[in-house]
Each structure stands twice: as structure tokens, then as C-alpha cells.
Symmetry: C2
Subunit: 565 residues, 2 copies
Amino acid sequence: MGKRILVVGGVAGGASAAARVRRIDEYAEIIMFEKGPQVSISNCSLPYHLSGIVENSKSLVLMNPDSFKKRYNIDARVNTEVIKINRKNKTITVKDLVANSIYEEAYDKLILSPGASPILPNKVEGINKPNVFTVRNVEDIEQINNYLKENSVENVAVIGGGFIGIEVAENLRLAKYNVSVVEFANQIMTPFDYDMVQILHKELVDHGVNLVVNDGLAKIGDGFIETMSGEKIAANAVVLAIGVKPETRLAEEAKLEIGETGAIKVDSNYLTSDRDIYAIGDAIEVYHRLLHKPTRLALAGPAQKQARTVADHIYGKTNRNLGVIGSSSIHLFNLNAASTGLNTRTAEVAGFTYDSIYIMPTDKVGLMPNSNVMHFKLVYEKPTGKILGAQAIGKGNVDKRIDVIATIIMLNGTLEDLKDLELTYSPMLGTAKDVVNHAALVALNQLHGQYREVKVSQVRELVENDACIIDAREKKEYEAGHLKNAINIPLSEFRNRLAEIPTDKPVYIHCRSGQRSYNMVMALENLGYTNVYNISGSYLGINLYEYFNDLVTGREKIVTAYNFN
Amino acid sequence: MGKRILVVGGVAGGASAAARVRRIDEYAEIIMFEKGPQVSISNCSLPYHLSGIVENSKSLVLMNPDSFKKRYNIDARVNTEVIKINRKNKTITVKDLVANSIYEEAYDKLILSPGASPILPNKVEGINKPNVFTVRNVEDIEQINNYLKENSVENVAVIGGGFIGIEVAENLRLAKYNVSVVEFANQIMTPFDYDMVQILHKELVDHGVNLVVNDGLAKIGDGFIETMSGEKIAANAVVLAIGVKPETRLAEEAKLEIGETGAIKVDSNYLTSDRDIYAIGDAIEVYHRLLHKPTRLALAGPAQKQARTVADHIYGKTNRNLGVIGSSSIHLFNLNAASTGLNTRTAEVAGFTYDSIYIMPTDKVGLMPNSNVMHFKLVYEKPTGKILGAQAIGKGNVDKRIDVIATIIMLNGTLEDLKDLELTYSPMLGTAKDVVNHAALVALNQLHGQYREVKVSQVRELVENDACIIDAREKKEYEAGHLKNAINIPLSEFRNRLAEIPTDKPVYIHCRSGQRSYNMVMALENLGYTNVYNISGSYLGINLYEYFNDLVTGREKIVTAYNFN
């Protein structure tokens, strides 16, 4: 007779753990309890039903109880809520939500994978209206879709600019709804720094999404919402996506230890404070490899690894636990965006001594038709050159570059390692000097003081203070649009125009993407100029950073409800 | 007065070295000598002019001498051949090919970047005909293009199935020419193993390319070529791409040391045996990080790194030299293919103790519309689990996965490291358990003897010897096409049909992509079966491997001139 393994929660982590136990032990008795009507759903894909990219909501269900039984001999019980853990007897109390009956099941090992539930805002008038939704399972997304269609809804408000909120907003917009996104912070998508995220802000606005930042939901009225600042936004339906909280009720009531982040505390093998109870997924806290402290990370990849580790550990095999770094990606209209590790905000909060560089090379050989600019930001520790994190946004395969950085971080690599990587190249797929090699070279120059730069976020102040800004692009490029107050001295002319470049005050140089200005900065340094700075992000970056402002002349200004603060 | 730096060769490495010298030293006098009429061309992009993907051949020239002068204050002399190095005087003898004059230039440091030239086959009748071409520079590609158009050529033969040959063949085919590829070896694209390359063979054939392997060029006739086996193939033009040889004449005549591979020998900073002469690019031999010996590697990425190292070294800065691993990629019709490090052939030749796994997961969440199967092969050392190399082929971003492997290799990572990588994921861009994580898990299972597999190349013998092969797919899948002699016991039924599975002889199991058969193998092992093997590559892999054969029933057979041996 095999072990009796009970699993609470049949999505992502739970289902993975159950399947892995079966592969290790054909004799184990495995029962999986799921409160909802489905197990093994593709929860990350839920938003794509709203646009019809995933047309049939049934395809979001990857396996049903019958196939769990047939393939894995796993007893998957849906509509079945585990309401209590009786640690002393090693049993759980289970409620069959359909039959409305209660029974007990004994376990040798118990695996908790209850997930996290959407946070609902406090004290918001109208929050209980039938047109207010959250997104957690297939039923939720079907309900939204049905409501919008049956009521011929035109205007939808999404509250919260995290992954779920933005993916929901994108898919609703693709389905031609008028979509507003309301975000309490000054930006959406916190894995990205404020400068990088402007590219995503612009992408939303360019695709007709009404983006409101620095504002929160105050009231849900009839056909509108009202924000904290008093703005009324047309909305016949509201999707709440302001965050999730770990499902800890069962664990708390069983007096399992809860960690400082409010999630279930586990050891390196995901054992809770009870040696027969494991916990995995969104309900637990994990160790952050770079921050050296517990954190919460509601991502599918780590949950799968945890599931495997738990199954292995039940059968005596340990896995090393390297902690998490937080790697994620998103596809948003025409852009891909990805990030890993720390950004400058999280590095700052954690007290790191760090610096960053921001480059924008092409992602493929420039003369290839599918070549596009990639915005790439690299964060590293000073003086060690240890890679702390990176962010990339563009039309091409940004996730490839971020995965390389994630690999470097997991292997404790430095800028030198990144510089030396020998990566694949062909003109249709990349550049001979890959984006990440390029980033490492620029960062090493900066780390070793071989050149200095100012950030794109500092440019406004420079312009307002009448600093000497040189635009190193050719005259035609300058005339098509340029920074206020910038003087135009092309790289191709500067050696004959040195007299125009002051030596008694700081000089800030940019071009289009930073390559020409870098050459000019190096030459001027060589010539004895001691106060020369490259403007990180260059004209492309300034343009994006100040897109909703008027720092740049000559470009077309978009008209939008979005008010950039 | 600055240093006098002379550079021989103005493409790729040479141009990069010159520009880097300028960034380090504004006072240096830099002269770059190029035999051809252009400097700084995108040589990797040359084939794309034949299809019109790069419509204007002038765009293949990235910078001209005038812009080198204006931007970098570099004197780039085209149509200028360096004919002699006078090491004693530290001068070079230069021939102006237009003025037909000869002069000398003195150097403090000399950088050789002469590249490699196409190899011409010996003693082939007709080799000097005007319709026989090679591909090295913009003029070559313009000549081919013009000849084909002016002579209304319909049939073109490409001799050689390496990168250049295949890219030329693809682009000619895209331009609607009838294209034959003749390759002397039994496969094209040697970075790929024989099993993996069948996918590329099929891609060529599927797109109407007449692929001939195991055969060489014997004669170029009028309107046809004749192969060594006597086959006549219609061809009004011939492109020779059987390989390149390093341009060592200058170095040899100057008595610079030549390495065992026949290329210029250099030290860790790319200094030749003369301490004032450096050499970089396709003309030199480099150190292979995994093979621990010199090799030749005609790739653009390493050449750029060498250029930078040389410029730095001239100014007293050393760079560490990690050696090369050989990372490359190619786009071929609808497929992308990439590889890094060693394949099983090179690992075998080098005497490694190694093994490999071959998986074919989807590259994105299966229900996403752009999801496709990715063929992924991982080669690792036994018993250390050190990653030696990988190959990936598919419609999606295979290069992302190979770049991660290249990063792991450069940082001396193992299967454990690969398993633990936390990579980016979103449904439109990847899977929660990334392809590379998945590969590491399978390889670890194999390394630790937790399951055993046979290779796709062994299946034919198993079938012919009436081995017990179980097809674990569902009945409907089996009926649509299956392996000869395979018996169908779906994973969903096997627990009730154990009596049909023999215990007295080896059992080989496959399904569609290896996931279901893996589960069945593990279960049978658990149940006491001692002689159970998973068939690596599974049905998808067998189908591709035996595509030109008849091992599989029920699938549509393509009709092609290609004769699979």
C-alpha cells in the first residue's frame, strides 16, 4: 500500500505536484481537492478569452478529472472545498459543495496549493454591483465575457495596472471595447522602472486605452466610475485587478506558521511548520535571491518548480533552493516587454550601491525588414559589476535578452561575463554584437569611469536650467524635431567646431540612439574636456519619456485623455 | 603626435578595430586598407539581396570612406591592396589598384583582418565559366543577381550546404528560381546532428529545393552540372559555397607563425608572433573553450570581440580570453534554427563521455495561436552533467533557448543550473516550464538512471527486428498513422492492459512528443518492469527522421527528387 498524498488546490502547482508524485510512485494514493469546478486550467491565459484569441473558453481547461484518473490514476475532486486541517489526526475535513456533505480524509503527506485571491478595495460604493468582476478562474472570465455581450457594454473600466489588469485591458481593447485603466501608483507594471514603463504607457494610449495613473477607484455608479480625484469615467462594467492576497485561512486556522509577508512560511523544501504539510504556489512566501529576504511572487514558473521539489522531498530527494529573482514577460499590443531581477527602484529600496544603463540598439541587423529598436536597461551593483536586473521592451524578442540576463543572475555573473557571452547571430534574428553584449560594454565603461552619463529622467531639469546640450545627429534629423535649447553639432562636424563646445561648464550630448554621442563623448574626453556627459536613452528615450509632455519640438503630439503627472 | 595604427581589411573585424582605436585615442593616426571597393559591408546579409529582402544592394554598405573620415577621422582607403609587410622597418607596402601605384606606410601597430576567401574545387571541368560564382562581397552578389536576371536564368545549382550555401539557396528559391543544393557530406549545416538536420532537409525539400547529399560537383556543363555520382542537374548558373580558407598569404610571407589549423596563430590578445602585429577575424585560429584546442570559426560576433580586445591591448588594457564555443543561428523559410557548443558528432570525435536528450515541447502555451512545436536537443557530459551544447529548430524563437544554453556554457553551468533557471514567461511568449528547464529535467532523469531512452536513429533497427514498441497515444491518433509493428496501448488505458506488456523482453514506448510515454515508462519502472525505454524524439521525431522513408504508415508521402540515403 502506497503513501496517501492529499493535495489542496488543483490548479498550476497542485496539479503539477500530484502528477510528479505519480511519476515517482505508481502505488501512491493521490487525491486532489479543488473548490472550483475545474482542475488544471491555464490561468495565465484567461484574459485571452476576452479578445477571442482563445475563442473557446473550454480550451482553457487543460485536463479534467476523468483524464487525471485515466492518465495518472489521480482522484481529482472538483467543487470540493477543504475546510479544515486536523493536524493531530493527520486528516482534512472536506465539503462537497454540490452534495453539500462533509467528510474526512486521512493523509500521510498534505500539499497545500490554495493560491491567492483577488483583493477587493475597501469601502467603495457600488462594489457589490453585478457588473463588477474579478479574474481568477474560467467562470470569472466567462461571466465577464457574457455580461459584456449580453448587455451590449461599450465602456469598461479596469482597476489596477498589474499583469492581470493590463492583459485584461489589452484583450478587451482588441475586442473593440472602450477601455479605461485606473492605476493608483504613478505607473503600471511595477517590474519596470518609471523611464521604461513610459513605453508601455504610450503603447496603451496609442491603442486607444484611456490610461489614468496616480488615481484610484472611489465609487462605482450607474454607467460610470468616479476616481479619488473626482474624475468621472464612463464604464458599464468594472474589472477589479488591484492585486491578490495569499489564501492563508486554512493554514492559519491550523496554526501553521505565517511569514512576515503575510503568506505561508516554508523551508527550503516547501515544508510548512508541520513536517507532514507542504505548501506551494501563490499562497507561500519565497526567498529572494538578490534581496536576501522573503517575498511573495505569484508566478507560474516558480510554482511548477516548487511542485516538483515537494514531490521529490516526500520521497527523500532534496533539491537545492536558489531562491527567486522574479522573471516575467508580457505581450502588449505590438510590443513585448520582459524583466528580471531588480530594477532601480527595488535596488534603491534594498539599499544596494548600483547604477544602470539604458541603450536602444536594433534587435536585428538594421537593413533587415523586421528590424526594430529594442529598449534595454541593465541594473548592476557597484563596484562589483554583479548583474542585478534588466528590463527590455520592443517589437522583437526582448524575452530572449532577459532570459540571458536571468541566466547570468542565477549563475552570479558580472558585467565581464555578460560582455564575453558568445551568442547566436544571423541577420534575420539578431546582431553580431548582441544587445546584451552591447549593454555590458556600456555599463563597464560607466563602472570604470571611462565615460559618464545622465539619465533620461534628468533631461527636463537640464533643459529648464539652460544646460549646454549638444545634439550630435545630422542637421536634417535635428530639424525634424529636437530638444528645446539643444544645439546641433553633428558627430561628422564636431572636430571642426570644437570652438563651439564650452570647456567651462558641463556638456551633455545625445544623438538618436546613443551611439554617435558616445563617440563624441569619448573624443572630447580624449581632447581634455573634463565635464562631458552622454545622455542615456538619447533622443529616442527622451521622446518616449517625455511623450506626454512638450520638452521636444517638432514631433506629432497625440491627443489623449491621459494626463501625465 | 599619436600612435600610427594601420589596419589591413575594412570589413567586420577591421572596421570595428579601427573605430574602437579612435574611441580610445582621439590622437591616433588610423589608416584602414581594403582591397575591394567597399569598407564596412554587412557580409552576413549578402544572400538576402538575391531574394529582394535587401532590395537595394547599396544598403549592404554600412559606411563609406567619407563617413569614416567625418565620424571617426579614420582614413579608409578602398581598392588598396596591402602586398607586403616589412617587419624590420615596421612598414607595409601598399598597392593602389586604381592608380596602379605602389607606396609604403609606416606603422606603430599593425592589425591584420584579411578575412577568408571561398574555396574553389580542384579540377572541375567548367569551373572557370562566366556563370560560376562565389559570394564574398557586394560585387559578387550583384554579379550573381545581374547574371541571373540578364540571362533569364531559371535553374541554379548551389554547391555546398553550409551557412552561405543554404542562405543563398533559400534566397534564390524565394526569388522563384529552381534551386538545387549539392552537398558532399550526408547532411547540410554541420553544427546540427544528423537527426536534427533532417528537419532542415525537409524544410528545403518542402519549399521545392532539390537537395542532393552524399554527392559532389564533378563537371559544369552547358545548362547543367554533373555530380560525382553521375547525376545531371539542370543549372544555368552555379554558386560555389563549399567553404572558406583563411587569407594567410601576407602573414606567411612575413614569416608570422601559422597555426596547426592553417590559420594565423595568435596569443590571448590576438597578437601574432610579431609583438607589433595583431590579427583578427576569419584569418586566425581561435581557442575552443570546450575542445581545449585551436579551431577556426568564421563568425561575426567573435570577430567583433577580437577587434575590441586588440584596440584595448594596444593601449595597455587586457581582456580575458574565454575561448569560443561556436554559437550560430539561421532563418530558413518558415523555420529558425540555432546551435551552440558541441553536438554529439563533435563530442564523440573529441572523446567526451556524453549523452544527449531530444525533446519537442511547444514553444508557447499550447492554446495560443502562435504556438508551435520546438525541437530541442541537449548534449551534456557524463557523469558531471556539464552542458556541452544544444540545438533547437522550430518556427518560434529557438535562438532564445540556445542563447540561454550558450550563457550556461560560458559560465560552466550544469544540468542542475539549467533546471533551476527562472526564466520569463507569459502565454504569448513561452511556457511556465521553459523548453530549457524541461530539457534539463529529462537529461537529469537520464543521467541519474531514473529512466532510459533509445535515440530516434535506433528506431529503424528496432522496427526491423520486431522489437516490442508501444504507441502510448490515443487510438484515433494511432489510426491516423503509426510506426510499423507498433502496438497501441494508450497511457489512459495501460493500467488495465498490463497483461499485454511483456516482461521478458525490452519494451520501447513512444507517444506524440514524449510526455505521455515518459509517464508510462516511469509507471512501468515503478511496477517492476526492468527493461523499459522511452523513444527519444517520439512520433514527431521519428516522422521527421524517417521523412524520406517508409517506416511510418498513414502519413502523406511527399514526392521529391531528393534521395535519402
